[in-house]
C-alpha cells in the first residue's frame, strides 16, 4: 500500500476487503505526518482519539460484513475554520488558540456519518484571510512539491496534506479562491461548490455572501464523491439551497462530446505566465479534439472583480469578526480594566496584521460618507459581473480559465505589499462574487517542476458538467 496515491475508492476497498484495517490506515497516515509534517506544517491539531474511535467502528462493521458507507475508513483532514465538537478549532488565529468547538459543522458531521476518519485540523491563513498561508498565527505551511514555496491559501494546510500523503481528502473553505488556488499550487484537485450547495453551519464566518465549503482531493472523482456526501439542504443553515443532490461521482466518465466550452479572453491577457497559458491551451485543444465546441466568450467586467471583492469581503468580515470581543470566545486581555478596554485590547492581542487591515478597510467602506462610494458601488458592479456570466452561459455550458497567474511563489515573496498578494486572486474571486461552481485541477508542471492548474467554471448548481469535463481532462491527460 502506497498511501501517497490512495484515492477514496482504493482506500475504501482496502478497508472493505479487510486487507488493511481502518485503524491501520489511520496509523499509517499518522506515521507519515509524524515523519514529514515537521517540515510542511499542515496540521494544527491531531484528533487521534476521535480517529481511533471512528476507525474501530468502521472495522467492526467491515468484520461483520455490514454494507459500508461511501467514505468508510477514508482518512481525512479538516480545515481549522470548521467546528469539530470537543476539539480545538482555531481558524489559524491567536484569538481562538484555546477555543474548543461546542458542536460539529454540518459538513464534518456528514463526512463522519459517511465513515470518514478525521485525523486532525489543518492550518490556514488567519480567519481564512490570505493567499499564501503565511497569515497563520501559528506557523506557515510549506508546499510539499517545493518547500521553499508557499502552498497557497487560505486552505494551504488542506492542499498540502493531500499532496504530502497526510490524508486522502480534506475539507477547505473558499471565499475568493481559497480552495482552488492552493489546489493549483500543490498539484491537487479543489472544488468550489455553488453558493448554497453545501451547508456552512459550523464554518467560522469570514464573508457570508462569498464563503463556501468544499473538498480537496487527489482525483476529480474523489471530489465528486466528497461533494455527494456534504451537499444538500440543512435546516441549520438558511442559506443552504433546497436543490436535489446529483449523483456527482456517476458524472465522471460521461461523454463530453458536444459540450460547449467558453474561453473568456479577459482571463488570458497580460500578467498570465507563458507556461501556464501554454498548458491551458493544450488542454483546450484536447477538449476540441474530444468533440467539445470551443467558443470565445467575453466577461467584460473581469478587471473590476478584485476591487469589488476586496470591498465586499472586507465589509462583511468587519461585521462577522465583531463577535470576537473578549466576552465569549476564550481570549480576553489581562490588561483590560474597563469594558472598552476589554474590546480593544483583546482584539489587539488576538488579531494579526492582515485581519486588522481587512477589518479597517471593511469598516472604512461601510462608514458614514463612504458607504455609497465604496460598498454600494461594489455591489452594483457585482450585478454587472453576474450579468457577464448570465450572458456567457446563454452560449456555453462551462468556462475554462487559469486558476492563478503563476505557479507557487516563494515564502516571503509577496508579504511586503498586500495589494500584490490580493492580485494573485485575480482569476478566482469572480466565481465567489457570482456564486457559480468551479474546479481547479492539475494540468502539468512548469520547467521548474512546479504544478500548474486549470479552472472550469459552471452554471449555478451544475457541478455535474464541471466534474464531467474535469474528469475527462484528467483521464485523457488532454
Amino acid at each position: 500500500m502506497d498511501i501517497n496515491v490512495l484515492t477514496i475508492d482504493s482506500a475504501r476497498k482496502l478497508v472493505e476487503s479487510r486487507e488493511v484495517s481502518a485503524v491501520a490506515l489511520a496509523e499509517a497516515h499518522y506515521a507519515q505526518i509524524a515523519e514529514r509534517d515537521g517540515v510542511i506544517g499542515s496540521f494544527l491539531t491531531m484528533t487521534k482519539e476521535r480517529a481511533q474511535k471512528q476507525a474501530e467502528r468502521i472495522d467492526r462493521m467491515a468484520e461483520k460484513g455490514d454494507p459500508l458507507p461511501p467514505l468508510a475508513g477514508v482518512p481525512v483532514g479538516i480545515k481549522d475554520v470548521l467546528m469539530t465538537r470537543g476539539e480545538r478549532t482555531t481558524a489559524g488565529s491567536r484569538f481562538l488558540e484555546k477555543f474548543v468547538a461546542p458542536y460539529d459543522a454540518t459538513a464534518v458531521q456528514k463526512l463522519e456519518a459517511a465513515g470518514a476518519v478525521c485525523l486532525g485540523k489543518l492550518n490556514c491563513d488567519e480567519f481564512a484571510m490570505g493567499s499564501s498561508n503565511e497569515n497563520s498565527a501559528f506557523h506557515p505551511v510549506r508546499n510539499p512539491r517545493d518547500t521553499t514555496r508557499v502552498p497557497g491559501g487560505s486552505s494551504g494546510g488542506s492542499a498540502a496534506a493531500v499532496a504530502a500523503g497526510f490524508a486522502v481528502a480534506t475539507l477547505g473553505s473558499d471565499t475568493g479562491g481559497s480552495i482552488r488556488q492552493p489546489a493549483a499550487f500543490c498539484g491537487v484537485v479543489g472544488l468550489l461548490p455553488t453558493y448554497g450547495r453545501v451547508s456552512r453551519y459550523g464554518l467560522i464566518a469570514f464573508a457570508s455572501s462569498l464563503d463556501h465549503v468544499g473538498p480537496l482531493t487527489r482525483t476529480v472523482k474523489d471530489a465528486a464523491t466528497m461533494l455527494e456526501v456534504i451537499a444538500g439542504r440543512d435546516t441549520m443553515d438558511s442559506t443552504s439551497a433546497n436543490v436535489p443532490v446529483t449523483k456527482y461521482a456517476a458524472e465522471c466518465g460521461r461523454e463530453i462530446k458536444g459540450l460547449r466550452v467558453g474561453i473568456p479572453k479577459e482571463y488570458f491577457g497580460e500578467g498570465l505566465d507563458a507556461e501556464t497559458r501554454e498548458a491551458i491551451e493544450r488542454r483546450i485543444d484536447g477538449l476540441r479534439k474530444a468533440g467539445c465546441e470551443i467558443v470565445n466568450v467575453s466577461l467584460p467586467h473581469t478587471e473590476y472583480a478584485i476591487p469589488v471583492y476586496y470591498i465586499v469581503a472586507t465589509a462583511e468580515a468587519s461585521a462577522n469578526l465583531a463577535r470576537f470581543d473578549g466576552v465569549r470566545y476564550t481570549t480576553r486581555s489581562a490588561q483590560a480594566k474597563t469594558l472598552a478596554d476589554m474590546y480593544r485590547k483583546s482584539r489587539d492581542e488576538g488579531f494579526g496584521a492582515e485581519v486588522k487591515r481587512r477589518i479597517l478597510l471593511g469598516t472604512y467602506a461601510l462608514s458614514a460618507g463612504y458607504y455609497d462610494a465604496y460598498y454600494l458601488k461594489a455591489q452594483q458592479v457585482r450585478t454587472l459581473l453576474t450579468r457577464d456570466f448570465q450572458d456567457a452561459f446563454t452560449s456555453v455550458d462551462a468556462i475554462v480559465t487559469p486558476v492563478t497567474p503563476t505557479a507557487a511563489f516563494k515564502l516571503g515573496e509577496k508579504t511586503g505589499d498586500p495589494m500584490e498578494m490580493y492580485l494573485s486572486d485575480i482569476y478566482t474571486v469572480t466565481a465567489n462574487l457570482v456564486g457559480v461552481p468551479g474546479i481547479s485541477l492539475p494540468c502539468g508542471t512548469n520547467r521548474e517542476g512546479l504544478p500548474l492548474g486549470i479552472q472550469i467554471l459552471g452554471k449555478h448548481f451544475d457541478e455535474a458538467t464541471v466534474l464531467r469535463l474535469a474528469h475527462a481532462m484528467e483521464q485523457e491527460q488532454l
Binding site: 474548543v100 461546542p102 458542536y103 453558493y195 448554497g196 455572501s209 439542504r233 435546516t235 438558511s238 442559506t239 439551497a241 433546497n242 473590476y304 476591487p307 469589488v308 476586496y310 468587519s318 465583531a322 470581543d325 473578549g326 466576552v327 465569549r328 470566545y329 481570549t331 480576553r332 483590560a336 480594566k337 474597563t338 469594558l339 472598552a340 476589554m342 474590546y343 480593544r344 482584539r347 489587539d348 486588522k356 487591515r357 477589518i359 479597517l360 478597510l361 469598516t363 472604512y364 462608514s367 465604496y374 458601488k377 461594489a378 455591489q379 452594483q380 458592479v381 457585482r382 450585478t383 454587472l384 453576474t386 448570465q390 505589499d417 498586500p418 495589494m419 457570482v434 456564486g435 449555478h460
Partner: protein, 106 residues
C-alpha cells in the same frame, strides 16, 4: 480620496481596534494603496444598476429565491446548546452568565 492618520484612527475606533503608532503608519500606506486600486470602479457608470446583495436569487430565472423558501420554518422550540456548553469557552463567567468588566462607573 487620500486616507490620513486621522481617518485610520477614526475607523479603528469604530472597529474597536487598538493600533500602535507603527501599525497606524503602515495601515495608512496600505489602505491608500488598496483604495487606489479600488478607485478603478469609478470608471463604470452604475447609476442605473441595482446593487446585488445575494447571488442565488438574482439567478436561475427567478426560481432562485424559491430554493430558499423553506428558510421560513414553523416557530417551534428545539433544544439548543446547554448553558454549560455555551459558557464553556468564556474567559469569565459566574457559572450562569458571562461576566464582563463594570459597564457603568460610579
Amino acid at each position: 480620496m487620500k486616507v490620513t492618520e486621522k481617518d485610520v484612527a477614526y475607523v479603528a475606533d469604530l472597529a474597536n481596534l487598538e493600533l500602535t503608532p507603527q501599525e497606524s503608519t503602515r495601515m495608512v500606506a496600505d489602505l491608500n494603496s488598496i483604495l487606489g486600486h479600488i478607485d478603478k470602479l469609478n470608471e463604470l457608470d452604475t447609476s442605473n444598476v441595482e446593487p446585488l446583495a445575494e447571488v442565488v436569487s438574482a439567478f436561475a430565472g427567478g426560481e432562485g429565491s424559491q430554493r430558499f423558501a423553506y428558510a421560513q420554518r414553523p416557530d417551534v422550540v428545539k433544544p439548543g446548546l446547554s448553558r454549560e456548553v455555551a459558557l464553556s469557552n468564556a474567559p469569565d463567567t459566574d457559572g450562569s452568565c458571562f461576566r464582563v468588566p463594570k459597564v457603568i462607573e460610579r
